[in-house]
Amino acid sequence: MSPTSSPAPAGHPVAHKTDWMGAAMQKRIASRYASERRFKFMGLAAVTLSSLFLAFLLFVMVGNGAKGFITTEATLTVDMPAATGSISADQLTGPRLSATISSIDVRRIYDDAVEAQYGENGTRYFASTAWTALRSQLIANPDLLMGKADFWLPTSSDVDRAAKDRSTPEAEADYARLRQAGEVRQTFNWNFLTGSDGTDPARVGIWGALKGSLITIAVTLLLAFPVGVLAAVYLEEYATKNRLTDLIEVSINNLAAVPSIIFGLLGLAVFLQFFAMPRSAAIVGGLTLALMTMPVIVIASRNAIKAVPPSIREAAMGVGASPIQVVFHHVLPLAIPGIMTGTIIGMARALGETAPLLMIGMRAFTTTPPDSLTDPATVLPVQIFLWSDEVNRGFVEKTSAAIIVLLVFLLTMNAVAVYLRNRFETRW
């Protein structure tokens, strides 16, 4: 065969030279480019749609919830000396103060003052527990007992909603009346951050649930962190390849994939039923969440330990460290940033978890924050769930406000994790 191209043998179709500039080919290229643009646009649309959804969700929550941090208050003028009889100044000093205040029937004084100022049905303007707000203001500032003073007290939930948005016609009329008289104002709702659950949406707070969450998470951290890190150290540094090690690895991978509600069933059957631990208690919640979080910490810690180069271990061995000293004096300190990142992410997940805690009854209605590990408690996500079920429209803004608080906590934790990773991660 000659090296130069020979004409096509007879009987075979002659190869056409493609007419790249021809109209048909131009059209084909154009359509291929159009399909390329379409595809790229679809990708962009998918990313945009996903992030728009996140933006929309945050927008709805902030839009609904921002008002939950604002409370409406109306003024109430109380002539304390007239209502209580004369109280001498020395009754308000030192240890006698609490006895003096508890001897006063604040509820009655409040009722009388409201009737005098707002007429017979005047209490409808105020929250049903407004008198407790009056009492706490008196305790904070006993001098008010000595004279006539104006008190700002929370309005009823209906009036509050009339002030912010829309409410029942009666409440809107009430609010207009109060406003004309200049007897109403809107302030930051400190009670929302310091109070606990209740039946009146105007007076509920999240501190009780938040404290429950913090106690539960503390238990989770204290249990899951040491166990998770130690298990990771064992599996990564000491475990020999045998049946038991395989079993441990399979268990950890399975636990990481089990739906969270199953851990709730475990907590119910094992901790509540078998060990007869108290229902609704933070310790049971913490134990359950610890089992759920431990695999996350184990997996993150193993990756962090694996990333420490062997030269560190060999150098430590070389100067005479025992195997335990190699790990605890040299490898672990270098792996700590990675372990911390994984732990914080696991804790953030535990903090947002609801379902397993519902199973073990952490939905207690408690108007006081839990004080110990065994007190009936609730946690922030469960509180959100409970409020979302309330019929009273006033709870909508409180639910969203609680969600804002929860999201702030979670985003802060995640930001700290990202910061730790960027700041301390060593690339070997």
Binding site: K40, F53, M61, A257, L266, F385
Partner: protein
């Protein structure tokens, strides 16, 4: 004395032992020329371990048997003779009495419990005291024993390290223990449930209408097919119809088209979607999405649209799963060797043709594995469906109707006072076992697919 106080006291004693043992070992070095085997702090740890570990082990064992001892003490009392002999009611009264002894404000259903409560309180107090005393004795004995063994040539470090190794092993075994705990509790309660309802009726029955009624040792209304259908409908059909296209296209765009700057910002934003708590999604679905969908359904002429629809729950769940699918797809696409991509581009294919005809087919096993993992996560998801999907067990393919899922019913069956003998409680465990097995199988299959696919390109 509360158990917290006991633990703190023992920890304090351990600390004191540590300080003294360490000081004593420190004297070995200053005192003589004899070669000292271990550093003083190892001697400290050795003694502290002897003081604390036996006492804590004893306390754990004691706390797990003390309630049973308390029950025996109560049952031996003359008051208990009048209890009904039926084991179910008897157990109910006893557990109520125990709760009452802990919390006097509790509502009581059985009057017999009121009389037994003080007995329980007294027995509990007595056994707590005995336990605390024994624990302190053990603590002192252990500490003293270890203290007498401290010598310059005593190999404290070796002993401590052996103990640390044991601790590491025990920490790893907790994972096995937790798995066993899950399997055992689910299977145990499920077997009790299957004594009341036949497995066949549970798995293939279509009538879900659970009640506490037990007639002739059989309970009815536990046909779980509508629940299984609802779970699959929401988690595997609607949610995946949202998550697969959006997640896959996001991954394709971010890995193949986006500039590094865009990628650096968009990836974390998508990951935030995975970090939002499910209760927030649930609230969003119930508050915003469901009403909007209902008015939409009414607008296109569907009259019986429910305010709790499968579509609302499925859509929101799909959005939650997007980052999951996206990151799995991302990994699989990145694992395809660059030579395949470059070859396709060199032949004159456009980027999209390369992606559609080379990259995605090559990455398909990984993507399928990721989707299976996403399905297993979606069907185990609880709060979104509890808040947005409803409770009526309908066997319908209408996305605007209300359906219920396995997880919703588990929550529903276990809410309120849980009596461990009622068929409703046991049914929740049977549903839990079903869910556990299905998610486990999905995970095993998915990981196998992903693993085999990785091997193909390694």
């Amino acid at each position: 004395m509360t158990s917290t106080a006991i633990i703190f006291l023992i920890a304090g004693l351990g600390l004191i032992t540590w300080v003294f043992a360490r000081a004593r070992a420190g004297k070995f070095i200053t005192a003589g020329p004899a070669s000292v085997h271990s550093l003083p702090s190892y001697h400290g740890w050795y003694a502290a371990m002897w003081a604390v570990v036996p006492a804590v082990i004893f306390l754990v064992v004691w706390n797990s048997i003390a309630p049973a001892l308390g029950s025996y003490a109560v049952l031996d009392s003359p008051l208990a003779a009048s209890l009904p002999t039926d084991p179910f009611t008897r157990a109910a009264i006893l557990s109520e009495a125990r709760d009452l002894s802990r919390d006097a404000n509790l509502k009581v259903f059985n009057d017999a419990a009121v009389q037994l409560a003080p007995l329980y309180g007294e027995a509990d107090r007595r056994y707590t005291m005995i336990g605390a005393l024994a624990a302190f004795l053990l603590c002192f004995a252990g500490g003293a024993f270890a203290f007498t063994r401290l010598r310059p040539d005593f190999r404290a470090r070796t002993k401590v390290e052996r103990m640390v190794m044991l601790g590491l092993l025990l920490a790893s075994l907790i994972a096995i223990l937790a798995t066993l705990g899950i399997v055992a509790s689910l299977i145990f309660e499920t077997i009790r449930f299957f004594n009341l309802v036949s497995p066949f009726e549970f798995l293939f029955g279509t009538n879900w209408n659970p009640s506490d009624k037990v007639v002739d040792g059989k309970a009815t209304g536990f046909g779980a097919v509508p629940l299984f259908w609802g779970t699959v409908f929401i988690g595997a059909i609607i949610a995946m119809a949202v998550a697969i296209p959006l997640g896959l296209m996001s991954a394709v765009y971010l890995t193949q088209y986006a500039s590094p700057g865009v990628r650096r910002w968009m990836k974390p934003i998508l990951e935030i979607l995975a970090g939002v708590p499910t209760v927030v999604y649930g609230y969003f679905a119930a508050l915003t999405v469901a009403p909007a969908l209902r008015s939409f359904a009414a607008g296109i002429g569907i009259s019986n649209a429910s305010s709790e629809s499968a579509l609302a729950a499925g859509l929101v769940m799909g959005v939650m799963i997007i980052p999951f699918v996206s990151s799995m797809a991302d990994d699989s696409i990145n694992a395809v060797p660059n030579s395949m991509r470059d070859g396709s581009l060199a032949m004159g294919a456009t980027k999209s043709e390369t992606i559609k005809q080379v990259l995605i087919p090559a990455a398909l096993p990984g993507v399928v594995g990721g989707v299976l993992l996403a399905v297993s996560r979606a069907i185990g998801e609880t709060m979104i469906v509890v808040m947005a999907a409803g409770l009526s067990a309908n066997l319908t393919a209408n996305p605007f109707a209300s359906v219920t899922t396995v997880t919703t019913q588990i929550v529903q069956l276990l809410t309120g006072d849980t009596d461990f003998n009622s068929p409703m409680t046991l049914a929740a465990f049977a549903l839990g076992l079903t869910l556990f097995i299905v998610t486990l199988l999905l995970n095993i299959v998915a990981l196998q697919i992903v693993k085999r696919y990785r091997e193909a390109y390694d």
